[in-house]
């Protein structure tokens, strides 16, 4: 790359000399893509407030005067969605807290201490990160059966609670914390656990925020493990409740029922979307950081 200096075109080189037409075309393309990405969600959120019959007779029409809450009231009556929300909330709070405390704690142990077999242990963790999670489903289910944990909170919470990926990520983050900071606290008489809770955790707060939103998203959206291990109506998480609703629809393809079930389905889907959508919009920066780091998981 030889640079023959042309001082006149030196400023803003990345976007230099682009014809105006291309820029307009680019904006149109991006707007259309945005519509494609948002329209199914927006359509569902809006349609859930339409009378059930018109959702299927005129799916693209919108009549603001005919808006109704009937889909929601019927859905709350027919579907144990409150139970699903509660189960998800219990799992989210406990599993989330366990992950957010014990993963960085283990990561701290790996990052700032030296002990025999450390690298061997950490290497084993890394290898399992590369294996697809489905390999574990059958034996984990059997393990839960042997423990008598099928359809219990333990089964929903404990497997995967201290995620190997979270440890891997936090170890990288904590390794970047200066050793001087840790040593200074030690000289000041801080206990080993005190160094972690009072020095390390505050310093890595941005990464912890990323880990927190990623963890919330993963637990809230988790479906495969809950549907395998906790499919009873009492223990079903929100996503499992939602998925059985879909099977009811395809089981009841009679026209009269279809409208009602579709209305309820959209109401249930909307109400499941909204919490995460709100968190995402409020915490988008942390979300994007978390997703980027989380993509290492595979």
């Amino acid at each position: 790359m030889t640079t023959t200096a042309l001082p006149t075109t030196r400023r803003r080189p990345v976007i230099s000399r682009r014809p105006l037409g291309a820029t307009v075309g680019v904006q149109v393309f991006l707007v259309l893509l945005t519509l494609a990405f948002l329209s199914p969600v927006v359509w569902a959120l809006v349609s859930a407030f339409k009378p059930a019959a018109s959702i299927i007779s005129a799916p693209l029409a919108f009549d603001p005067s005919a808006l109704t809450l009937e889909n929601y009231t019927r859905m709350f009556a027919d579907v144990p969605i409150g139970r699903g929300f509660m189960n998800t909330a219990v799992v989210l709070v406990i599993k989330g807290s366990v992950t957010l405390f014990f993963a960085p704690l283990a990561a701290y142990g790996f990052a700032k201490y030296d002990f025999p077999f450390k690298n061997l242990l950490f290497g084993t963790v890394l290898i399992t990160l590369m294996l697809p999670t489905i390999v574990l489903i059958i034996p984990l289910l059997l393990e839960m059966k042997a423990l008598g944990w099928v359809n219990t909170y333990q089964a929903l919470i404990l497997p995967g609670a201290v995620d190997a990926f979270a440890v891997f990520w936090m170890r990288q983050v904590i390794a970047a914390v200066p050793d001087e900071l840790v040593d200074a606290a030690r000289v000041d008489g801080c206990s080993e656990i005190g160094i972690f809770t009072r020095i390390v955790l505050p310093v890595i707060r941005p990464a912890m925020a990323g880990l927190a939103v990623l963890t919330v998203m993963n637990i809230y959206n988790d479906f495969v493990w809950p549907v395998v291990v906790a499919s009873s109506s009492r223990m079903a998480t929100l996503q499992v409740v939602l998925s059985t609703l879909a099977q009811n629809i395809t089981g009841n393809r009679i026209d009269a029922d279809y409208a009602t079930v579709t209305g309820e389905l959209l109401a249930a889907a909307s109400i499941a979307l909204i919490p995460l959508l709100v968190i995402f919009i409020l915490l988008q920066r942390h979300f994007i950081n978390g997703i980027l780091a989380g993509s290492v998981k595979g």
Binding site: L30, F37, L136, I137, K145, E192, Q239, A259
Partner: protein, 309 residues
């Protein structure tokens, strides 16, 4: 591979010098206490089940009674039967429908969002990620409603344009593309973000130099951007290959594997062994799938790395 998107941090941990003193014993014990909760869970719910699956895959077991040792029986049963290959073929077709399109669109959008001239960049970034953060089950439900043959919004729109209905989820021709569309819609924003992070690590002065040399935008994309984001692209390719071959919840909710088994993906077929309590075969199927996906990933890494020379 991971270095392209992981937070930049030194990987090597320097050993903390032991300087003696009263706290020495306390310090020596601390790391064990810190990693113990993680290790206990990792052993119980990670390592143990993994070893258990391997053993299980050589037995015939229906969930109760004694397991019967069948050697390679489960593997030969799967490899010689049609159903396993059909599920792999379904996933392979889905891969073809998804991954090339996704990486192309993802790269184009990422390049556009990386350009300073495009307005509302952070808005687009958030809008494109909405599908990715919403629960899969909920959007899969919406898919069944929107693509319903008789009452769905898509066919209504087609009819309004004077076009005939399409059996999006009811014909084996269209079920795969419809599922592929769901997957594309759900995850392309995520790929954009990954590729964008790769693009942002490219030094702007490289473009400056090329621009001064009179290289066109297309030429710059081809000769500078592509080679420099190759690692990130490779990463996205491997990630999505794993995801497509493990795809389970989408067909489980939207099509239940039908019509005529056309959307019984490798992941769903594996799950079906569990529902039939055919656990030995399921375990063998897990390992075959893992081996296949790992081999494919290694192949991609090889192919794309060799181009570096």
């Amino acid at each position: 591979m991971t270095a392209t998107v992981a937070p930049p941090a030194p990987i090597v941990v320097e050993p903390t010098p032991h300087r003696g003193g009263k706290s020495r014993l306390r310090r020596a014990g601390a790391p064990y206490l810190f990693i113990l909760p993680f290790l206990a869970m990792f052993a119980a719910f990670g390592v143990y089940p993994m070893i258990f699956t391997l053993r299980l895959s050589f037995t015939s077991w229906r969930g109760s009674g004694a397991a019967e040792w069948v050697g390679w029986g489960n593997y030969t049963y799967l490899l010689q039967g049609e159903a396993f290959w059909a599920s792999m073929a379904n996933s392979a077709v889905l891969w073809l429908l998804i991954v090339p399109i996704q990486l192309t669109i993802g790269l184009v959008v990422a390049v556009l969002l990386n350009s300073a001239k495009v307005r509302l960049r952070s808005f687009y970034r958030v809008a494109f990620l909405v599908p990715f953060v919403t629960p899969l089950v909920a959007v899969a439900q919406i898919w069944t409603v929107v693509f319903d043959q008789r009452f769905g919004a898509v066919n209504t729109a087609l009819n309004a344009l004077g076009l005939p209905d399409i059996g999006w989820l009811t014909t084996s021709t269209w079920a795969k593309p419809t599922l592929a569309l769901l997957f594309l819609w759900k995850t392309t924003g995520f790929i954009v973000i990954i590729l964008l992070s790769g693009l942002q690590s490219i030094d702007a002065s490289v473009y400056e130099a090329a621009s001064l040399d009179g290289a066109s935008r297309v030429r710059q994309l081809w000769s500078i951007t592509l080679p420099l984001v190759r690692r990130t692209l490779l990463f996205a390719l491997v990630l999505q290959t794993l995801a497509v071959f493990q795809m389970f919840a989408e067909p489980f909710v939207v099509t239940q594997g039908g019509p005529y088994g056309s959307t019984t993906t490798a992941g769903l077929y594996l799950y079906n062994h569990i529902t039939r309590a055919d656990l030995g075969t399921g375990a063998a199927n897990s390992f075959l799938l893992v081996i296949f996906v790992m081999a494919l990933s290694l192949l991609f890494v090889r192919l794309l790395r060799s181009e570096d020379k």
